[in-house]
Symmetry: C2
Subunit: 394 residues, 2 copies
């Protein structure tokens, strides 16, 4: 097994300052450490760049098939069969331009004005955003902020009415880091089947799970729940490929899958998944298992380090995440709201974090900040040291 380094020396800060946008290095004043967008500081696996270079060498970038390259769909199918116990044929998998667009496609395919869909609170804003783009309404299900606490199933059921068409499951949960157990998912699956809901399972964080927790895809629990599920994922979190814009949607249910294909507008070429993204993601799935193992192992150390550091910062409290490389810190005891604290840390600690604004994560996010720990030990220690000093001098 090749070994990969996730040391500080492996990070190319000058390239990050040129290329890492979306609240990160290239969007911030020099000297600020971004613990913001969920995008790693490390370069991607060498095999991914090598695959792109091989593909580019031929100098052909012709139209890709509307349904995606066969080799990529097969790689996705094989990955889910071997790693998730989830058997979906390649012809029920549609490569799309990012998981974010995949969520929009799923909502557009299945929701119409007047429909309702249930989303967690807190969770990333994209579910609600895409539900509303389809003219439907998002109903918020408050979930425990402690990842080890279960979802309140009676509360979930109380939100289901005649117009409820979909349950949006983010597993692991961004931002709390909860990883659902098979029995929790089984209960959710039973509710979905009983009420004939579609489960939209956002699995973009599913590679980032810390021992002893293990990942379960809800669609793998049986054929009936599989036929109620649309699974969506992408390659930004695990493989640092956000800028290549590549993800997929899939469903074993032919009716649902055909609706996804229609909603994608791939047939008209208005939308599509670019060739290089598909080549890169295929290399990720086929050649980068060792790299990913090393990355997740590093992240588990960084999670433990970050939790230790948080304990020493006045007013900060945090549950232990089971997955995702995010800490969702309660900062109510600092006496500041999340936007004020974010600005304070930016100015006084030169560290950027994401404020728990209700419009980004839901009502329960108020009083929290989100910290991304997908970087080197050196940088994390420096960032927490700066935060601690700023908060101690407050």
């Amino acid at each position: 097994m090749e070994s990969f380094s996730f040391s500080n020396e492996s990070i190319n800060y000058s390239i990050l300052r040129e290329r890492a946008f979306n609240l990160r290095w290239a969007s911030l004043p020099k000297g600020v450490i971004p613990l913001t967008a969920a995008d790693p500081d490390f370069p991607c696996a060498p095999a991914i760049s090598e695959a792109i270079t091989r593909f580019a060498k031929d100098r052909y970038f012709s139209y890709v098939p509307a349904e995606g390259y066969a080799f990529f769909r097969e790689a996705i199918s094989d990955f889910h069969a071997s790693k998730r116990g989830l058997h979906i044929q390649p012809d029920k998998i549609l490569p799309v331009d990012s998981a974010a667009f995949g969520i929009q496609v799923a909502c557009k395919a299945t929701l119409k004005p007047g429909d309702e869909a249930i989303v967690f609170d807190p969770v990333d804003f994209l579910f609600k955003y895409c539900i509303e783009q389809s003219g439907a309404t998002a109903r918020a299900l408050q979930i425990p902020l402690d990842p080890s606490s279960p979802i309140d199933i009676p509360l979930l059921e109380s939100l289901i009415g005649p117009r409820t068409k979909m349950l949006c499951l983010c597993n692991p949960v961004n931002p709390t880091g909860k990883v659902f157990t098979p029995s929790e998912l089984q209960t959710i699956a039973e509710v979905a089947i009983q009420h004939n809901l579609i489960v939209l399972s956002d699995e973009i964080w599913s590679d980032i799970v810390f021992t002893p927790h293990r990942y379960t895809s809800i669609a793998s629990l049986g054929p009936e729940i599989s036929d109620h599920t649309i699974t969506v994922s992408g390659y930004s979190k695990s493989y640092s490929l956000a800028g290549l814009r590549v993800g997929f949607v899939m469903s074993s249910n032919p009716t649902l899958f055909n609706k996804l294909v229609q909603a994608s507008l791939h047939g008209s070429t208005v939308h599509g998944c670019n060739a290089v993204g598909q080549v890169a993601a295929t290399a990720a799935l086929r050649e980068c298992e060792d790299w990913l193992e090393g990355f997740v192992s590093h992240l588990q150390s960084m999670r433990d380090l970050s939790l230790q550091e948080i304990k020493t910062i006045p007013g900060f409290e945090c549950h232990e995440p089971q997955g995702c490389y995010l800490l969702f810190c309660n900062i109510e005891k600092t006496g500041k709201d999340s936007a004020t604290l974010q600005q304070f840390l930016l100015e006084n600690a030169k560290v950027a974090v994401v404020p728990g604004l209700p419009r980004w994560f839901g009502e329960q996010a108020a009083g929290h900040i989100r910290i991304c720990f997908s970087t080197s030990e050196f940088l994390l220690r420096e960032a927490f040291s700066r935060i601690r000093q700023a908060m101690t001098n407050l």
Copy 2:
């Protein structure tokens, strides 16, 4: 000046059979020559692959800025200033995921249900499709099939009513190959300004113009028409980059431009323009002028060759295109409709062409087939020889 070859030997047929989809090599039975989708058989300019390889070597594919890379926007701005006499600041240019998506963004940004937009007949289906996606209605303006005949301006004006919001200009026209003269564009601009219409100028074919014709961007005619215009283009036709999905929309009008940005959904990351596409298109604009000159010169020869060949095929008639690498052949004298003839040629000549179906090109397209001549002299001679033989034996 480096010289580039557009000989038959420069074409890699085995790669095309793997990678060229959308009615082309990889979508057709072996042995069939595709003169179908507007996608060249030649590999792209070496500088484009080299730029991708350099970018990939760093192994960073982080989030791109929602507004696009500054270097790409500057390259687009510089290109239009120097080659089109059109001065648009980089901050009024939005890189998008293909020209097709750019047309959708423009329609979504400016049209609402009940609105009307004028589209040529014949023209590629994407205008009508995107107008209808926005809930608006497309009104067809019949244009002469002979590229040298002018647009009927009184007919255009007769289609303008209180609900008319947009005039969709495809210049050069796919499929007729018409290149608008400055005075024709001036007249159209005056009509647009007088009736306060937005001109959506699709310039994806604007590099492919044959001497003595010269290209004029309608927005370059003056500040007033510029502020009524949304210009959209991409890099599939000139640089063979369809699979990289990269294009742009732009407008000097800040209100229009802001509507484009909103409609793009780039701010939410649901849509965006991938990093490698932007790198490749920048290399095309900055480093591939000589390559493009060689390509267009080759295409002009192929146009002349194709017109000679068409004269020898019973029942085929064709005007001389001024731009685009397409022949739009009237085939009414064959006694077959376009779909029947397309199938006949596929089976008997092993040549694939695009039938002039009204749903793809408008009502006037009936009785026509579209032939793409962006290939080698060897292959074109072979294809026309097969067509001639099949038609002669009819």
